[in-house]
């Protein structure tokens, strides 16, 4: 299925969880925030929140700023 990840279309496995997606992307869950369709997903729910086709997923972290 296709999701919109950080502004780009991406193919992922059907029903993939947020936690699994982070693993696939080799991202450390402790350093990111995840938003699915405008809702912030709490870290403790990464393992249970399954993505659906067409979901808009944003993965954010700390970057340079003043």
């Amino acid at each position: 299925m296709t999701i919109h990840l950080n502004g780009k279309a991406r193919e992922v496995a059907e029903g993939v969880t947020v936690g699994r997606l982070l693993e696939e992307l080799k991202l450390q869950p402790l350093r990111v925030a995840v938003q699915v369709n405008q809702d912030i997903i709490k870290r403790e729910r990464y393992g249970e929140v399954a993505l659906q086709s067409g979901d808009t997923v944003e993965i954010l972290t700390f970057m340079s700023g003043g």
């Binding site: 990840l5 950080n6 502004g7 992307l25 080799k26 991202l27 402790l30 350093r31 990111v32 925030a33 995840v34 938003q35 912030i40 709490k42 870290r43 944003e58 993965i59 954010l60 972290t61 700390f62 970057m63 340079s64 700023g65 003043g66």
Partner: protein, 258 residues
């Protein structure tokens, strides 16, 4: 809380009164060195999309979290709703419930939208954040933000990145006179003397980014800023002499020969 030898914001004690931004350095290694030399204990960061391209280096690999606390900003937010959302995302990243709250009103000046800023401050304070709003050099606004529960207020010296220095020292002085929470002068500092001037006036701290990151030698400028902030603070504590129009001899006339 204000006064005393150290800066305390929301119960956290700072030995350094210099806050440093992490934007615009030529590279992360230079930034890492500049932060170390600056003596800062708190650095600002932004919340942005993660690099999915793993070949790029990550900012957090260059910030020792045992040495520095993170102060996420809401740069780029133009409404209270956006700023609240970014603050919550920053908190979710999980290293801080502090926020340097920016709600920008205009792209060209990057001046704050104070109406939205106050609104966002109220929401975030209620939500348990340590809120440090970036505001104009407006004493009334500073007071309103303090009353809304801001942990510190961050009036600008001049527009962000302008390097124009403290454009309205009289307003900053009025803000300082009335403040019960720490006042951190943020934005506008161009060189060491600007930071010193803010500190001599009694500012509780200064936040510097572009003046360090954009200097020809950022590491040297970081050292200059550390010394300027320390010198300015010492001068404030020492109490400067009043200004007079005429001379007053430093050397006595007594003992001169007839």
């Amino acid at each position: 809380m204000r006064g005393g030898d150290t800066l305390i914001i929301a119960g956290k004690e700072f030995r350094s009164r210099l806050f440093v931004g992490t934007g615009k350095y030529p590279d992360f290694v230079t930034m890492e060195k500049a932060l170390a030399v600056s003596g800062t204990e708190m650095v600002t960061v932004a919340v942005r999309r993660v690099n999915l391209d793993r070949t790029q280096e990550s900012l957090l690999d260059f910030i020792d979290l045992k040495k520095y606390s993170l102060l996420p900003n809401t740069a780029g937010c133009y409404t209270a709703d956006d700023a609240v959302k970014y603050s919550r995302l920053a908190r979710e990243v999980g290293m801080s419930n502090w926020v340097k709250l920016e709600v920008i009103g205009d792209q060209r000046t990057l001046f704050p939208d104070n109406e939205e800023l106050l609104k966002a401050t109220k929401i975030l304070v209620k939500d348990g954040f340590v809120v440090m709003p970036y505001t104009n050099d407006d004493p009334i606004m500073a007071k309103k933000l303090e009353d809304a529960g801001a942990a510190a207020v961050m009036p600008l010296g001049a527009p962000i990145g302008s390097g124009l220095g403290i454009r309205n020292p009289h307003n900053i002085a009025i803000i300082l006179q009335g403040a019960k929470v720490p006042i951190i002068v943020d934005a506008g500092v161009g060189t060491a003397s600007d930071a010193a001037i803010a500190m001599e006036m009694g500012a509780d701290g200064v936040l510097v980014n572009t003046a360090i990151a954009g200097a020809k030698d950022p590491v040297k400028m970081a050292e200059a800023m550390r010394k300027a902030v320390e010198a300015g603070r010492l001068a404030y504590e020492a109490g400067r002499i009043p200004k007079k129009s005429y001379a007053s001899a430093s050397t006595t006339m007594e003992g001169m020969i007839e």
